[in-house]
Amino acid sequence: MTTNNGNEKRQGFYLNMGPQHPSTHGVLRVLLEMDGEYVLEAEPVLGYGHRIQEKMGESRPWKGFMPNTSRLDYVGALICTHGYIGLIERMTGIEAPLRAEYIRVITSELNRISSHLLWLGAFLLDLGAFTPIMYTFDDREQILDILEDVTGSRLTYCYFRVGGVNRDIDATFIAKTRAFIERLRSRFRIYHDLVTTNIIFIKRVQDIVHLTPDMAMRYGITGPLLRSTGVGYDIRKSEPYSVYADFDFEVPVGTSGDCLEVYLVRLEEMEQSLRIIEQALDRLPDGPHLAKTPKKLPLPQGDASFSVEAARGEFTYYLVSDGSEVPYRLKIRSPCFSNLSILPELCRDMLLSDLVMVLGTLDLVIPEIDR
């Protein structure tokens, strides 16, 4: 096959990257048309991990689909579940007690930090630095331990309930979380010392690609990728759900939209999440953690949607109900699908090493794309 590049036609050869490749982070396959080490065209091929999640949501009572929501974006599972619970609450009009909302915010933000930490390690691993992932995993492990105490699981949590959360948090949880915040702040200094100022790292990620706000919006890109271009779009600010409006935090934005900015935005986002958690812990109200809900709860006829700011961008559930307990139609909009779709345009005429780096920047969780 030949491609048009300017006026000259170049002859390329195909290279299959994946589905089993160390840096596609799951069962993603990228079909590359190469000219030597240069990538002429990159085409992501999906479907290796498809589990008909949406159809599953349409073929059982809404309660039965709750555990599935944490299997979509399993790295930030709580936030993912938050969207679905929020949608059901919006449709049925059930309100969670204030304490439950605070607990949701605290655990969601912890989950967001753990997701970003995983990304940080994996991204640097893609750049060939093996050691950082061990440090970030060490930090992430602390979060998983904290969340395990309260949710009972370490990765695919089913903790949020319609009308609250499954289990109340106690003084041990609060003490552990506060200790973790201290610890992570000191670890950020290590990361900045060893990574942010590393000349090889900067040369590898700076000015390789420039994502413009226009490009990002054409592809529906959200999350840190969009914010790195200078657009301060964050669902937690623009249409606050839960109790996010009560907290004082900033939405970090970049300017040029290159991979270094994405990295900095994500690091700053972790810092802001820590601030939210601190405020929430300080102001944690007393009261019940779970509202009383009827055992059988049919969804009223009509449709509704609910968006949350997941670790990778806007996560939206859209549900159409015919009045029964089983949703008539459930549509899930996941951020990574849109974020991945820009890859062909971003990666035209770039080196293979840079493609791996850009793929790492996108922070893909494949089961969330292949639902």
Binding site: H21, L127, G128, A129, I200, R204, S353
Partner: protein, 327 residues
């Protein structure tokens, strides 16, 4: 006695040396492999291998047994002969170049007049092995690795040689033994710090160590040129890499760090060899340290760094040295 008497002493010496060298290469591979994994563990907040033997010391032996026991898979449509030959092409030169390394004043297989040139020439052969391995694998990733390896090897050979030549100007000899003897007053590293640094950087690239490990960049090329090799053949590449590291460091020690010289130790006879090994392993430790600290450079950055910085600086350094020596 009679058999020994009938053998010419030179031949006996060769046979003994060959046995010792091969044994040493394997032991060094095991030790370095263990050291690397243990140190990597230390750098990464984990204990490293702990299960096999005390402190996991027999882990590498267990791994070697596993690798030997594994099936050797030859990819379809690849040249069987060359595919089998490639690991040996990688492994044999590193064994051969051992003969000129002076471990101590008495412990050297053969002191060639052209020792340094010999060792550089034989070590460059490693590149051929990599190219053959990548080419016959019939795998695009392996080919990428091989092409990268050759481009990198050719580029970094130049600053490496230029920096070594500066030392030759000081010693007026290519013999490895003479190099050490000429440093009895002051080590060359103090007279030629620039050359030493350039040599060490080029050595990292030459041995495909991070941050220059592009031929086997696992996040890009899965495993690079040895993607298709399994079992014992993979372990030959592995051994070749570790032995190559040892050579790069022992050349550095011989040429820049005074070789076997050092304050006498209680074990008088062996103190030279002990000092030599100590210095080599300090350099190897630095190599391992660098590998587990830095991210990988990109391919064009790697070549730019060589052609735009290392080579001109090495040339300039050589020019200045030549002028100073002449005056």
């Amino acid at each position: 006695m009679e058999t020994v008497g009938t053998l010419p002493p030179q031949l006996l010496r060769m046979i003994l040396s060959a046995v010792v060298v091969i044994a040493f290469v394997f032991m060094n591979g095991l030790l370095l492999g263990y050291l690397e994994r243990k140190l990597a563990g230390r750098f990464q907040l984990r204990p490293g291998p702990m299960e096999v033997g005390p402190q996991g010391m027999l882990q590498m032996v267990a791994d070697a047994v596993k690798l030997i026991g594994k099936q050797f898979i030859i990819p379809r449509q690849s040249s069987t002969t060359l595919f089998r030959l490639a690991p040996f092409l990688a492994f044999v030169p590193v064994g051969v170049s051992f003969i000129v390394i002076p471990l101590s004043s008495k412990l050297q297989v053969l002191d060639l007049d052209m020792g340094l040139i010999f060792i550089i020439a034989v070590m460059a052969f490693n590149m051929v092995a990599t190219l053959v391995a990548g080419w016959v694998s019939n795998n695009k990733y392996a080919l990428f690795g091989a092409v990268r390896s050759v481009a990198q090897g050719v580029a970094y050979e130049i600053p490496m040689l230029l920096s070594l030549v500066t030392v030759v100007l000081l010693t007026h000899s290519f013999s490895m033994r003479a190099m050490v003897l000429s440093q009895s007053h002051i080590w060359h590293v103090f007279m030629q710090p620039v050359a030493f640094v350039i040599y060490f950087i080029a050595g990292l690239a030459e041995t495909h160590r991070a941050p220059f490990d592009l031929p086997e960049a696992e996040s890009e090329l899965t495993a690079g040129f040895h993607t298709e090799f399994s079992g014992i053949c993979f372990s030959f590449f592995f051994l070749a890499e570790y032995t190559n590291m040892f050579f790069v460091c022992s050349i550095a020690v011989t040429l820049f760090l005074g070789g076997w010289s050092g304050p006498p130790l209680p074990w008088m006879e062996y103190s030279g060899a002990i000092w030599f090994m100590l210095k080599v392993y300090v350099l190897l430790f630095i190599m391992i340290w660098i590998r587990w600290t830095f991210p990988r450079v990109r391919f064009d950055q790697l070549l730019n760094f060589c052609w735009k910085y290392l080579t001109p600086i090495a040339l300039l350094n050589l020019l200045i040295t030549a002028l100073v020596v002449k005056l």
